[in-house]
Amino acid sequence: MKSLSSRPCKADKTVMNRWLRIQAGPIDETALRQDRTISRDIGAVIYFLGVVRKQEGEAEISALDYEAFEKMAVHQFQKIFDEVERRWPIESVRLVHRIGTVSVNEPSLWVEVTAPHRGEAFQACQFLIDEMKKVVPIWKRPVH
């Protein structure tokens, strides 16, 4: 059995960078891509766009009107980010969620995850969005 003293020291886990916006204005994908910074350890950058569909249930809509309990939404997002950071070696998470009226075909959600490998990046992104849909207090109403 190896003695403790012969084990290599494990480097401190890098702190995950977080960036979160809940905003009324449109999501500027070009600006978000231009603002991306990644370290030389990163092998995977994935981003997801949630876009408003024309169909909401049985009805055809022109837009969705989003409302948030913003202070709690920020708090709950941070708790999800904490869990992402605990589970995977993610370098950064950036997330934008719209509030107010978002027309069909426009994005209401933009999420980016950067990580050394694609597996952890996809898993973290999926987890983040799934959890958001359970606990982050944001609601939508159809606009006809």
């Binding site: 409302e67 709690m72 939404a73 708090h75 944001i138 609601w139």
Partner: protein, 81 residues
Amino acid sequence: MKISVVFYSYFRELTGCSNLSVELPEGAALSKLVAELQGRFPKLKAMEKSTLIAVGLEYQSGNYVLRDGDEVSLFPPVQGG
């Protein structure tokens, strides 16, 4: 003690208001407040199984003991994304 109550999303329409203040005895549990609100707003009772409740910024269940000045939010299931 005085508790602030805030309704979000279509719960505002169900109750006809966005916020109100409720007087409760010291040490009352969240379930007592909810029962009080369901008495005032019967449509809330019908939504019981689809109601999420937070005290401050955290979700809480009925046995949570309220404190003077707490802000309690009631809302339907969340729909972000």
